[in-house]
């Protein structure tokens, strides 16, 4: 089926160093691989594994002080074979290859387009750089490209600015730009990581379709094994700058040779097999009862003007949370799930509706009407964990100060008592107690999230609202953090409201799931029922968009052998 023998790009023994201060970070060490026309090679690895640096090296885009130390990047360019590693970073030759023969799309569609130029300007510029045609011709080509990436009203879209587009639309525009000169190689650096699952599915389909039309080689960088299982022909696994193994996707996923690959896959597959979910009590005790909650954000209004734009962030939500349960709230970005989580804490005052909170003592408090003092006392029972453990810890406070802060604010513990309590909490979240005197920068993302959890449980809360607590973590850390949260629940009987866009994490962690769309809960029920037999069309779409790390869900045909390429 595929008998081209010569690879279009051969990377041989590539090493990239970053000399920072007096030490040198070896970002890529002696990595070799080939890329053939028409195939998709997925490069997988955790953050810091060197996959992005490898991709940037191919275009000589490594930022200072990074430097290619050795290796060859042999590319079959239109003007014959060149070794990109030997080209001048700012030279004419590499600029002729960039965007023209090898194009790249990036992770952040929000910031990868200039905010002050129209989409059309940026597209036309890319076309004119490498083609000797008139501006009018370039413009009509640009419109055609936008049509190909399925942007509605392409002529009008040419005059739009990136901030007028949604994330998915921006990534489509980026792809249009990358394809503008019909490149032979497309490098995609986590192009769907920042997008919703349904948008991700559309973008992946789009790339596959365009790849087929153009016989393009795609180097796809991702950390998502689900995506790999769906689109890769071949896979290369990287760890700490080194290539661990590579092979056909079915080989790497089903018969990994190396221990690291096995561990990586295990941590992904572990999320696929949920732990035992507790049987709900016959008579569950309700902690939070939300009735017909409505919340609007308005903007554009002035002192005497009616607001022009009203967003119904929460549009009539009914919800109960029972003692000791794990309720998941899923939905795409903008569905109102984060707003709902925060309004439960009284952070946003609702326009309508009631939030009843039943205290430990049995007293019922209406959160939307509660005054500051009452809210403060409730905050001892309801805590929050945030998405980004890098920014949710104060860099100028030691770990002890961070964890002890809620104790200081809400209890009258003595210093010694606080020391004991913090030590106890650190132990509970699996951190050695010596860390108490260090600052957050000394810890990795997973460790920081453990510290955030320790802070959240410091006051023995009854409910923890966790807003995407694992999204910023590498996949190998996710289930560790989730397991920690599960263990803490067993020990302390905490109820979790778990807000996430990641269905696999929700399936692993939650008992019940509420699916939100445009401020409404469209479906709520048992986790198994929602994930395996969704009823509402939106839920069905959401669930089917999630790429599963299992080849049996794959639609794209598998390559049978590397022999097709002519090598063994």
């Amino acid at each position: 089926m595929n008998n081209r023998k010569k690879p279009i790009l051969q990377v041989k023994n590539l090493s990239v160093d970053f000399p920072i201060h007096k030490q040198t970070i070896k970002a890529v060490q002696d990595v070799s691989f080939d890329l053939y026309a028409g195939e998709t090679l997925c490069v997988v690895g955790e953050s810091g594994s060197g996959k992005s640096v490898t991709a940037r090296a191919i275009l000589q885009l490594i930022v200072n002080p990074g430097k290619i130390m050795q290796g060859e990047l042999l590319f079959e360019s239109l003007e014959g074979a060149v070794d990109i590693a030997q080209l001048d970073k700012k030279g004419k030759q590499i600029r002729k290859i960039r965007g023209n023969e090898i194009a790249m799309i990036f992770q952040e569609p929000m910031t990868s387009l200039s905010p002050v130029h129209t989409i059309g300007h940026q597209l036309v510029e890319a076309i004119l750089l490498h083609n000797d045609i008139s501006k009018a011709e370039a413009k009509s080509q640009a419109a055609e490209l936008l049509r190909r990436v399925k942007i509605p009203n392409p002529e009008q879209a040419l005059n739009s600015y990136s901030f007028e587009f949604s994330g998915g639309m921006r990534q489509r525009a980026m792809i249009a730009m990358a394809l503008s000169c019909k490149p032979k190689v497309l490098i995609a650096d986590e192009p769907t990581t920042a997008l919703d699952v349904t948008t991700q599915a559309e973008i992946l389909d789009l790339i596959a379709e365009l790849q087929k039309d153009e016989e393009m080689a795609v180097l796809f960088i991702t950390h998502d094994m689900g995506v790999v299982a769906q689109i890769a022909d071949r896979v290369m696994v990287m760890y700490r700058g080194q290539k661990i193994e590579d092979g056909l996707v079915q080989q790497v996923l089903e018969q990994p040779k190396e221990a690291y690959t096995k561990a990586l896959l295990n941590s992904v597959l572990k999320l696929e097999t949920p732990p035992m979910h507790a049987k709900p009590d016959a008579k569950p005790k309700t902690i939070i009862d939300v009735k017909d909650l409505k919340l609007q954000f308005s903007s554009g209004g002035g002192l005497f003007k009616k607001p022009t734009l009203v967003v119904k962030a929460i549009d009539g939500v009914n919800l109960t949370i029972n003692e000791g349960e794990r309720l998941g709230i899923v939905g795409e970005s903008g569905s109102g799930k984060t707003t709902l989580g925060r309004s439960l804490l009284g952070i946003y005052p609702p326009n309508e509706g009631v939030i009843n909170y039943t205290r430990k003592t049995g007293e019922i408090i209406q959160i939307e009407k509660a005054n500051k003092a009452t809210l403060k006392s409730i905050y001892g029972e309801m805590r929050m964990i945030f998405q980004d453990p890098h920014s949710s810890l104060n860099p100028r406070m030691t770990i002890f100060e961070t964890i002890a802060e809620p104790l200081r604010a809400n209890t009258d513990m003595s210093m010694a008592q606080m020391r004991d309590r913090v030590q106890f909490l650190l132990e509970k979240v699996g951190m050695p107690s010596e860390v108490a005197n260090r600052y957050p920068h000394a810890f990795s993302g997973g460790q920081r999230q453990r510290i955030c959890i320790a802070r959240a449980i410091a006051l023995n809360p009854r409910v923890i609202i966790a807003d995407e607590p694992t999204s910023a973590l590498d996949v190998s850390l996710r289930h560790q953090v989730l397991d920690l949260m599960l263990n803490l629940q067993k020990e302390f009987g905490i109820a979790y409201i778990f807000i996430s866009h990641d269905i696999s994490v929700v399936r692993y962690f939650c008992d019940r799931v509420a699916v939100m769309e445009k401020g409404k809960i469209v479906e709520i029920g048992d986790v198994a029922q929602i994930c395996d037999a969704p009823q509402h069309p939106y839920t069905q779409k959401l669930i089917s968009s999630v790429p599963r790390p299992d080849l049996k869900y794959r639609k794209k045909p598998l390559l049978q052998t590397t022999m097709a390429y002519g090598d063994v």
Binding site: L61, Q107, E125
Partner: protein, 327 residues
């Protein structure tokens, strides 16, 4: 866009009203009034003015009335285009003010352009070549300019201009052109004089703007859109000018709001030293002698000048940045 401009212009009205009140209060703050100055001057000349004559004078100048009455009489006149009468010069204020304010505006504008023309390229160079020799040299130059007192630099430059170039000392024109009509020769003569105050005022302002531009651009240079543009194959110089500089220039333009006031207050000292026919020296004299209407008119017009400068920078921003224009 038109709606935006109208809205900003209407927004200036309350600011101007506030400036007029403040200006009036500032003028009234020191003890005494213009008549006291007259009395003092008469005493110096060995003359005396008796109480009856003082009362007559007070009534004639209207300085004996309650403050509110004085303020509304003043502001009411201005609304009708009458800026009042200068006690000291025995002339309507409007005759004295326009030409001097014109010179001040022109000089401030030229200086602002000079600062931008110097600071923008140096700022870009400093950011792109961060921590290079050129970056340090430009920064050093900028800070020396900022730290050197304006009057000192003015005197040194005046010396150089006279000894080396043989230009007349002080003023904006050589004596033979002061009363002459505008001609090419007069413009050339003007150019030979204006560079001194522009350079003096400019060097004081460039350092801050170099740092502003450098810091803005450093933030933008590592943004993903720059890398994405580079991956398209754009040449480096074109890339930097078209993308990060376009975005980084916004705060630079909005600095007009604070650069203009410093220019105008710096102008006061420089113009006094260089004996320039601008608003500064006359304003200083009017304040000293409590020549109320003259000082008030200057303060009001300088305030208006700053507001207009800010308005222009806002309009410029809206033209350059679609995010401001469209939201």
């Amino acid at each position: 866009m038109l709606g935006f401009i109208i809205k900003r212009v209407l927004g200036m009205i309350p600011s101007l009203a506030a400036i007029s009140v403040l200006a009036f209060i500032v003028i009234q703050l020191p003890p005494g009034d213009f008549v006291t100055t007259l009395v003092a001057q008469a005493a110096e000349a060995g003359d005396t003015i008796d109480d009856a004559k003082m009362a007559v004078l007070r009534q004639r100048y209207g300085v004996g009335d309650p403050i509110l009455v004085q303020y509304f009489r003043w502001i009411g006149g201005i609304l009708q285009g009458d800026f009042g009468y200068s006690f000291e010069w025995n002339q309507p204020v409007s005759q004295l003010v326009w030409e001097r304010m014109g010179m001040t505006s022109l000089m401030s504008f030229i200086t602002l352009m000079f600062i931008w023309a110097i600071a923008l390229p140096i700022g870009i160079y400093s950011a792109v070549n961060k921590y290079s020799f050129g970056d340090y040299a430009a920064t050093l130059f900028g800070f020396i300019g900022m730290a050197t007192p304006n009057f000192l630099l003015a005197i040194v430059l005046m010396y150089i201009s006279t000894i080396w170039f043989g230009n007349s000392v002080g003023g904006l024109f050589s004596p033979e052109y002061v009363k002459a009509d505008w001609s090419l020769a007069k413009i050339w003569d003007f150019a030979k004089h204006i560079w001194i105050p522009v350079l003096v005022l400019g060097t004081a302002g460039t350092a801050a703007l170099i740092r502003v531009m450098r810091a803005n651009l450093l933030d933008e240079l590592n943004k993903p859109y720059v890398e994405a543009a580079r991956a398209k194959g754009l040449p480096e110089v074109k890339l930097i000018l078209a993308y990060p500089v376009r975005v980084a220039i916004n705060p630079f333009i909005s600095t007009v709001g604070w650069v203009l006031p410093t220019l105008i207050s710096g102008e006061l000292i420089v113009s006094t030293v260089l004996n320039l026919p601008t608003a500064g020296p006359l304003l200083l004299q009017a304040l000293k002698s409590q020549d109320m209407f003259l000082a008030g008119a200057f303060l009001l017009m300088i305030g208006a000048l700053v507001l207009i400068g800010t308005l222009l920078s806002d309009i410029l921003l809206a033209i350059i940045d679609p995010r401001i224009r469209l939201s």
